[in-house]
């Protein structure tokens, strides 16, 4: 018989971080709900890899496809499906920990599935916006938004594979004063972009804005007029900012010949 929720929490969630997950949004938004899914899945007898696949299908096939429509209401539905898939994404780890089957191959499978969701979502969003505006710049920014997260991932992993040495801090003083502040800042900026909570919140907010405001037309002399709404701005911002961060990281790695410590 499967243990009660409280017992399961101890087995599956607290064992990973010692006591409790230190990152509070993760605890409140995901782990508090995911344990119920874990319990049902354990009862049915679904394995960890199958749970990953379920989350992949919810996120990609159903959730992502909602974004291909121009109507903002579909986007809100898509964001909710995306949230659901992220909850199920936590479940697979918990099942693996419960069954003592946590393995590197499982982690790999999990990561690959998680990786595919992002570009697919952005591609669908591009089609949704393109359906509204029928302008080529949408496609260009869409391509950037689709490829930028992958580039950023490659720039990290390639550094691992080529076994570049870890960047060492020059002075002991640096860790205490300036650098630590910079690092924490960059860490929080990174979190706000990469973490799924902020992505969901951003998509929801942007879709809400579009629900209430009309499309704005901006005239730029010599270049022409562009139609813009909040979701379009989101795609542009997302793609370009991640691309910039990646370019800076690559530049940093090449200049110093070492991997930045994250």
């Amino acid at each position: 018989m499967i243990e009660s929720i409280k017992e399961l929490r101890k087995i599956c969630q607290e064992s990973k971080y010692g006591v409790k997950n230190p990152f509070w949004p993760e605890r409140i938004f995901y782990r508090s709900i995911s344990i119920y899914f874990t319990k049902t899945f354990l009862k049915i007898g679904i394995s960890a890899n199958q749970a990953t696949l379920i989350s992949f299908f919810i996120g990609v096939i159903i959730g992502g496809s909602f974004f291909a429509f121009g109507n903002p209401k579909y986007w809100i539905a898509g964001a909710l499906m995306f949230y659901l898939s992220k909850i199920v994404d936590r479940v697979d780890g918990e099942i693996a920990r419960y069954n003592n089957l946590a393995s590197v191959a499982g982690e790999y499978w999990d990561d690959m599935c998680g990786l595919c969701i992002g570009p697919y979502r952005m591609a669908c969003m591009t089609f949704g916006i393109y359906g509204l505006f029928h302008a080529i710049p949408v496609l260009i920014f869409g391509f950037i938004a689709v490829t930028a997260p992958l580039f950023s991932r490659i720039s990290n992993l390639l550094a691992y594979k080529l076994e570049l040495p870890l960047q060492t801090l020059v002075n002991e003083d640096d860790t205490k004063t300036k650098k630590s502040l910079k690092q924490t800042l960059s860490r929080y900026v990174g979190l706000s972009f990469e973490s799924s909570i902020s992505i969901i919140v951003a998509i929801l907010a942007v879709a809400m804005i579009d629900l209430y405001f009309n499309v704005v037309t901006i005239d730029i002399p010599l270049i022409g007029s562009f139609m813009i709404n909040a979701r379009y701005i989101y795609i542009i911002f997302y793609g370009v900012s991640i691309l910039m961060v990646t370019v800076f990281r690559v530049y940093d790695i090449i200049r110093k010949g070492a991997m930045p410590n994250f």
Partner: protein, 252 residues
């Protein structure tokens, strides 16, 4: 003073290629890239251009070449292949310069690989726009997105396995007989897709389009050889990646 071409060949090329002598596709690389790239190496060594700068030159040449693909006219595509070929030559030259100067490093490889992979996906993105300007159909964009992302996804699938140290176990086993042959074959297949054959295929496909007008097929719409190239490379790459991920997950 920089040595003569013959000496340079010994210093820069023979060292690396002695390992690859037995491979099937060695002659392709030798005849099409290394024969010419040594002249670029000589000129650049005289000018005092470093290996990383050469990579950057190759990157820009590639960007210019890819930009030609944005136009729908097949003649532009044929013209675009020339800078792309030049960028491959630069790509071969940067390694030679690094070997000559003895500055070959992991960072250089990193920079080289990053440039390569971004060119690869940029090429497909430009092609998609070019084909889209002819047909104006949504399926072109869908296949274009697939073709643009597959090189990235396939690279990530490999690198992630490296990072999680999945390969260390299998490489011990596979150093024996059959498996290594199979792996070699796949490795060279990837090289073929990546560099050698891609240029010739694009050239061939563009020439076909120059001679034969686009066909209209029910359900799919307009169709020509270049469109077929984008579809096939995207789908085949995607399937290969999925199979690889499946294998890795199954075998651990």
């Amino acid at each position: 003073m920089v040595e003569s071409i013959r000496e340079l060949r010994k210093i820069c090329q023979i060292v690396k290629h002695s390992k690859f002598r037995e491979s099937k596709f060695h002659w392709l690389k030798w005849n099409f890239y290394c024969r010419l790239s040594i002249y670029i190496t000589k000129v650049f060594l005289k000018l005092g251009i470093s290996a990383n700068q050469t990579t950057l030159c190759g990157f820009f040449a590639g960007i210019i070449g890819c930009s030609f693909f944005v136009f729908g006219n097949p003649e532009y595509w044929i013209v675009g292949i020339l800078p792309l070929y030049l960028s491959r030559l630069f790509d071969a030259a940067d390694g030679e310069i690094a070997r000559y100067n003895k500055t070959a490093s992991a960072t250089g490889t990193y920079w080289d690989n990053m440039c390569d992979i971004s060119l690869d996906s940029f090429k497909f993105a430009c092609m998609t726009f070019g084909i889209y300007s002819i047909f104006h159909e949504i399926p072109v964009l869908i296949f274009g997105f697939i073709a643009t992302t597959y090189p990235l996804v396939s690279l990530v699938s490999k690198l992630l396995a490296y990072k999680l140290e999945l390969f260390t176990k299998t490489s011990v086993k596979s150093s024996n007989t059959e498996k290594s042959k199979k792996q070699k074959f796949f490795g060279y297949g990837y090289i073929m897709f990546g560099t050698f054959i891609a240029l010739f295929t694009i050239l061939g496909v563009a020439i076909i389009d120059l001679l034969i007008p686009a066909v209209t097929i029910p359900f799919i719409g307009g169709f020509n050889a270049r469109y077929a190239y984008v579809i096939i490379s995207g789908i085949s790459g995607l399937i290969m990646t999925i199979v690889r991920v499946y294998k890795i997950v199954c075998k651990g």
